[in-house]
């Protein structure tokens, strides 16, 4: 059964590849190669689109990271707390560390969305608007990705902390220090996100 699925996948991807090569060669050989213009395509995308994508990556990836971390740490806390219930309250700190990551995402999304505004100018977007759109996109992506990774890191160390704490109380603080280092990664993303969008003006259009 699985071999047939494998054949079908190979056949499908080779057909797609063939079509792509055919289209590319067709455009090139009929003298219309300049139609395949990545830069032009990117510039035709509205700066609003860039900005809003950035904001949604920022909040979306952060929340995924936080939720993922909470479930990694949470399931271990749950299991460990069966025998040693005392770890449950103490290890909520790991859950809070993960939650902080989502809060970073929310804060940055609010800061970014303050730069959005209606453009009423007849002449359309100015180059400053494009700069704002791009910087919101990449700033948001930077914040989102670093928060995602931070959430995972804190979740894994939080899980370690819970398991170690259940075995030996003294280990809790030691692993908590490592966990704090992990949670700083999210803060780095936050700072970089602020710097990247720092020089971006609000949307205004051609004045």
């Amino acid at each position: 059964m699985s071999t047939y699925v494998g054949y079908a996948r190979t056949a499908f991807s080779s057909i797609v590849l063939l079509l792509a090569i055919w289209t590319g060669l067709y455009l090139l050989l009929t003298g219309r190669g300049e139609r395949f213009n990545v830069g032009g395509y990117l510039l035709r995308i509205s700066p609003y689109m860039w900005g809003l994508y950035g904001i949604s990556f920022c909040i979306g990836l952060s929340v995924i990271g936080a939720a993922w971390g909470i479930f990694i740490a949470g399931s271990s806390i749950l299991g460990g707390a069966i025998r040693t219930p005392r770890i449950a309250t103490k290890n909520l700190i790991s859950i809070i560390f993960c939650e902080v990551v989502a809060i970073y995402g929310v804060i940055m999304a609010i800061v970014f969305s303050a730069k959005l505004g209606a453009v009423n100018s007849e002449a359309g977007f100015s180059s400053s608007d494009y700069y704002t759109g791009f910087s919101l996109f990449w700033g948001g992506l930077a914040v989102g990705l670093s928060n995602l990774i931070c959430g995972l890191a804190v979740g894994v160390t939080g899980s370690n902390a819970a398991v170690a704490d259940a075995h030996d109380q003294q280990l809790f603080v030691k692993i908590l220090v490592i966990e704090i280092f992990g949670s700083v990664i999210g803060l780095f993303g936050l700072i970089v996100g602020l710097l990247v969008t720092g020089k971006a003006e609000d949307f205004a259009g051609v004045l």
Binding site: I72, L78, G79, A166, H167
Partner: protein, 355 residues
């Protein structure tokens, strides 16, 4: 990358099993146990451990066999809790662990039937972890073909039986061969399954299973001295894995006495330290004094390996390791209990401490 999705299926159970591990009897508790004068004292001491709920309703002059049975009940209760709460990758893994017990039960039942023992008694003696539905029907089988066609074909062990079918009738030697062939097939299958689980389960389980395989190889070699098992057949019973596969195994297949076995084992650094000062002819527990037999040394080594499995998180090895440690603990308790009930206090310290 295992860390980030392992907990989705196994995080809770891993926490639970680590909790079980913390419930294992520690050194000070052992020294309390060994100072008991009577079985009642022992029972009282065990009331501070996880075995308490299983022992408290036993009438007071408790026998060693009841103690052992109740301790096994405690182990089974914990294992079944894990099994009931497990989802796919772990449930399969836990199932694999039970196959080993199934093999023991099958062999126990066949041997019992051969000696015309009462079926009911035999079923009670079976390890509860190795129960499977068609097991009681084992008692009617008289030939290997029968055994396979009526019982084993529906059991999870069916696949392992392939190599046993060549044996014609059921006698003592053939049963031993069946046991070892089944166990060999089981170990190899389990090993392959663990390898497919990916890191870090693979590396941790491979160490434990390699050791298990080496131990079986050595035991098969030692037990086949002075029997009618030919050297060719002996090498067929060795599991095809382990640190000694294949080079040392081919040499072990040809040896005739303990000293040659020792010479081969000494070439492996991990077994060389183990063999220092070992009394090769002692039976388990030592003949007196503090001499340990080879079997005891293997147990100590096994405990060490299983303890190492707890040094890492996010792998399935802890489930296996915990079960092995718990089994060792029950063996220890039974040893202490036997020494107390038989007034052999000088040997009481020959158990294998865990933590």
């Amino acid at each position: 990358m295992k860390e980030i999705y392992f907990n989705a299926d196994a995080g809770y159970l891993e926490g639970v099993v680590r909790g079980y591990r913390d419930g294992l009897i520690t050194k000070p508790q052992y020294s309390n146990l060994t100072q008991c004068e009577t079985m009642d004292d022992l029972k009282l001491q065990l009331a501070t451990t996880d075995y308490a709920p299983f022992l408290q309703n036993e009438p007071s002059p408790i026998s060693t066999s009841t103690l052992s049975a109740r301790c096994t009940d405690a182990l089974v209760a914990e294992f079944q809790y894990l099994q009931q709460n497990s989802a796919e990758p772990i449930s399969k893994f836990l199932e694999y662990i039970t196959y080993g017990y199934m093999i023991d039960n099958v062999v126990l039942l066949i041997t019992g039937t051969l000696h015309e023992r009462d079926t009911h008694d035999l079923l009670e003696k079976c390890h509860p972890l190795g129960f499977f539905d068609t097991m009681p029907a084992l008692c009617v089988a008289t030939t290997v073909q029968d055994l396979y066609n009526t019982v084993m074909v529906d059991s999870p062990l069916a696949g392992y039986f392939r190599e046993c079918l060549s044996a014609e009738d059921l006698n003592e030697l053939n049963i031993e061969i069946i046991r070892n062939t089944l166990y060999k097939a089981y170990l190899e299958d389990f090993y392959n399954y663990c390898m497919a689980c990916g890191e870090p389960t693979a590396s941790i389980m491979s160490e434990i299973l390699n050791f298990e395989s080496d131990r079986r190889t050595v035991n098969i070699t030692i037990n086949s001295f002075g029997t009618e098992l030919s050297k060719d057949d002996r090498s067929k019973l060795y599991p095809r894995l382990g640190n000694m596969y294949p080079e040392a195994q081919t040499r072990l297949a040809r040896v005739d006495d303990m000293d040659q076995v020792k010479a081969i084992l000494e070439q492996y650094s991990e077994y060389k330290t183990m063999l220092l000062g070992v009394n090769l002819n002692a039976s388990s527990g030592g003949v007196g004094g503090n001499e340990l037999s080879l079997e005891d040394r293997f147990f100590i080594k096994e405990v060490d390996l299983n303890k190492e499995a707890f040094e890492q998180q996010f792998h399935l090895g802890v489930f296996y390791a915990w079960l092995r440690l718990k089994e060792q603990e029950i063996r220890n308790i039974v040893w202490v209990a036997e020494c107390i009930s038989q007034q052999q206090k000088d040997k009481i310290n020959n158990y294998t401490p865990i933590y």
